[in-house]
Symmetry: C2
Subunit: 498 residues, 2 copies
């Protein structure tokens, strides 16, 4: 598999992400971060300091070694600190000379474009405002109909705000006032911010992910997944309040807060809170995908074009990564989808469960990659942890449960654990869907597509599934009939398969 | 990867196991079973009945389809029922004609030999008695110094016993008496059984695995792993008592009991109990590996020679299957092993933890195959579920815990959950080992073997790790030093790395 190393020389930290790239996506195999803080003191001196410069060189030297050993293609970019510093070009030259790594200095607008590429290929949203809070800049993007409509980069980031308004430790009322005034003035210059009304803010970058983590810890929220996590304006306001009410030492008691970012969190969180206040946007989603992922999408995947269907691409990637039998996966999905649709009046499930149905059916066997025996349980674990994109957390948990129900074996699932996430009616759906998926999987038990289609006929007492066969399918039908008792209990009708 | 389908035409059931084979092992990717019961009524008529014959043909036709779709090499054997039936050859001929599958009829002694191959390559024991209870035969093997010393096949199996002594439903005292007398007579003919004194009985076959499952359910034992599970003679006696005290219907209340085997379990469990009684062997281990796995080992792996080191081969297979960076894995193991040994007087851990150390160090990154973020947690899950051989359950759980501790990230582990398994001193070992593995992993953080060796110098207040470097290793040392605080707390000494 092709390996790509993305190196991101930011104002706060330098990062290397090592990826394995497939046709439809990629998988992270290593992630290294060094808090170099190239942006420190930049506002006053206009220069990257000697110490930070040396640290950057040491870090890059190590990164280079890692790239070499992995035989990885290297994609290296520098952002705000190097853009702003008078000696930024010197640093890039030194890097080129000492390590032969070609670093591309990208503009704020390009950065915003990569952020967009990261998000649009990983979250299924059409209209939103994107914000990326970096150490030395803030990118704002207006997205409508999955297209960039506006993009701007403000040349001030969390590191700058922290230094300028002295927010690292105890924050005084006066400092906070000045900060908020400054932010409002900055936002006011972005004319479209107030005019446009998308109802979701998508937050990119480590700092915003950290706000999400703090929120999950506060709520005891499961699953603990950073990508596509939802917060309300009120959640953000509460966390901001919590952060600014504590000095640096006291902040260490906040569960989930990253130590390395404890000093710059007040300024960063203020940006998010104030932005939601200013625009009236009430919902925040944190994105695990941003600049680095956007770079990979743009340069290595799908010829730089964005995906039409985020979930589909993501499921393809997961199937590829785990060497799944795609023919069987898609055939079970086909049979399941037929059954689910034709039995609408029998299962009486309303609402849009299409993403869940697809994810569960396509990935039902994914756990085999851990081990065949008990693979339904491994499937549950893997669906929750495989980093599937284009689906929200509730849908993900339900997909995992339905997929894990694809065998006769019992699967214990504690709905209570996910009570913050699941709706009242979800339990009924999941249990019924589990039975139907079990039947669909059985109907391709031999994985030879012996049964091509299923047509369901429903009468008062019976559901008759007529199978259209390509070959003998006795085992398939017999296997499927093992669900008859459960079927009767759940749907009140006898199951007949011929 | 090469695919192999093993088809086993037994007296009770027919089975297909689909495997992916590597240099050092294999991975199950599908498993199909049909309870055909070729052996039913064989004692009376000497013939396989028409109904069973037809069912066998249908099942094989399906199996053939599965083999074709998978482009698998087929290895098919028939055992007791076909051996005994006067029309056994007719069945094989019909199979050959209709499906082109060449079935090899193996003798009882050959069956015992394959059982041995399955066990000796998957359980790290030198001296034991092996018993395989099939539907139509019982194999007994004496193993000493990892070699077969004696092997015998009794031409009676659980199906025969069930029919002969009417054990399927309610069991009367008289029936049981007759059964036990019959078994004792049969055992008495195997002269070496009483003479030899290995202290472990290794049980092969689905029925014995099912006895293990019932035992785990009764005890609330974790982890729920069938291979290498340990029972005492008393556990077996209790389960036998439980089974025979219930009629067929009542047996369905026994948690863990396989429905399809509920009728033949009394007879089968009597064999195990009586064998332990007769030989005086007090310990039973259930094996997940038997005839089918033995066939694969003999025909496809290591040129048919048994492994010298079961654990090593198994770890290699797991690393191969998940495309791990073996160089990094072995280098971390090397560094960890050095540190662990040199700090004996510091950690003061006694006892043999070598298998745990090796497993944890080699597989610490295995969870990356599920997802990079939180991969230490995935590592824990995978080590428990990857089917690692050559290590017992206690060692496996401890390996998973130590491996999951290889990052700075917290890992929550509930020792209570495994209280039936872990010894009092294990917690201290696991916590200390976790810190040392974290340091060793950090010392190869860049995965470029920057640090070749570590030499530890211990004085009253300090542990000094002197690194021998192949290249600059600043990141490695810095990363490792993040464990200094934990190190001080656990070992009472300052950590210095130069």
């Amino acid at each position: 598999m092709k390996k790509v190393a993305v190196i991101d020389i930011g104002s706060n930290s330098m990062r290397l992400v090592m990826l394995e790239v497939t046709a439809n996506g990629f998988k992270v195999v290593d992630d290294m971060k060094e808090t170099v803080r190239l942006g420190r003191g930049l506002q006053e001196s206009g220069m990257i300091g000697e110490e930070a410069m040396n640290k950057a060189m040491q870090t890059l030297s190590l990164f280079k070694g890692v790239c070499e050993v992995n035989h990885a293609s290297v994609l290296a970019v520098a952002t705000a600190a190097v853009r702003k510093a008078r000696n930024g070009a010197d640093l890039l030259e030194r890097i080129q000379k000492d390590t032969s790594i070609e670093v591309t200095l990208i503009s704020g607008e390009e950065e915003a474009g990569y952020d967009f590429a990261g998000v649009i290929n990983s979250i299924d949203l059409s209209d939103f405002v994107l914000v990326d809070i970096g150490g030395g800049s803030i990118e704002l993007v207006l997205v409508k109909g999955r297209e960039i409509k506006e993009a701007v980069s403000l040349a001030v980031g969390s590191l700058d705000l922290t230094q300028r308004f002295k927010l690292a430790d105890e924050v005084s009322f006066g400092q906070e006032e000045d900060l908020l005034k400054f932010l409002r003035t900055a936002f006011a210059k972005v004319k479209w911010l107030k005019k446009e009304k998308p109802c979701v803010l998508v937050g990119v970058g480590g700092i915003i992910r950290n706000i999400g983590k703090i929120d999950r810890k506060r709520k005891g929220y499961l699953p603990d997944i950073a990508h596509n996590y939802k917060l309300s304006k009120n959640d953000v306001a509460e966390i901001y309040q919590l952060l600014k009410s504590k000095n640096l030492l006291e902040r260490s008691s906040i569960e989930g807060l990253s130590k390395e970012r404890a000093d710059i969190m007040v300024g960063a969180c203020a940006v998010v809170r104030e932005l939601m206040e200013y625009t009236g946007i009430k919902k925040l989603r944190t994105s695990g995908y941003g600049l680095r992922e956007g770079l990979v999408f743009k340069h290595y995947i799908n010829q730089g074009r964005r995906f039409d269907d985020v979930l589909e691409s993501s499921l393809q990637t997961v199937l590829d990564m785990h060497h799944e039998n795609k023919e069987h996966a898609y055939h079970v999905y086909h049979l399941y989808d037929e059954i689910f649709k034709e039995l609408t009046d029998v299962h009486k499930i309303n609402g849009d469960f299409s993403k869940i149905n697809k994810t569960a059916a396509l990935l039902h066997d994914i756990g085999v990659s851990i081990g065949f025996y008990n693979h339904h349980e491994h499937t549950f674990y893997m669906i929750l942890n495989a980093g599937i994109c284009g689906i929200d957390h509730r849908e993900l948990v339900l997909s995992a449960y339905v997929a894990a129900s694809h065998r006769l074996k019992k699967f214990r699932f504690n709905f209570e654990e996910y009570q913050l996430l699941l709706k009242k009616e979800d339990k009924e759906y999941a249990q019924k869907a589990g039975i139907l998926l079990q039947i669909a999987n059985s109907l391709d038990r031999g994985q030879v597509s012996a049964i091509k289609e299923v047509v369901c006929e429903v009468d008062k007492k019976t559901v008759m599934m007529r199978t259209i066969k390509a070959r003998d399918a006795e085992l398939e039908i017999k296997d499927a009939m093992q669900a008859a008792e459960m079927f009767k209990k759940a749907f009140g009708k006898e199951l007949v398969i011929i």
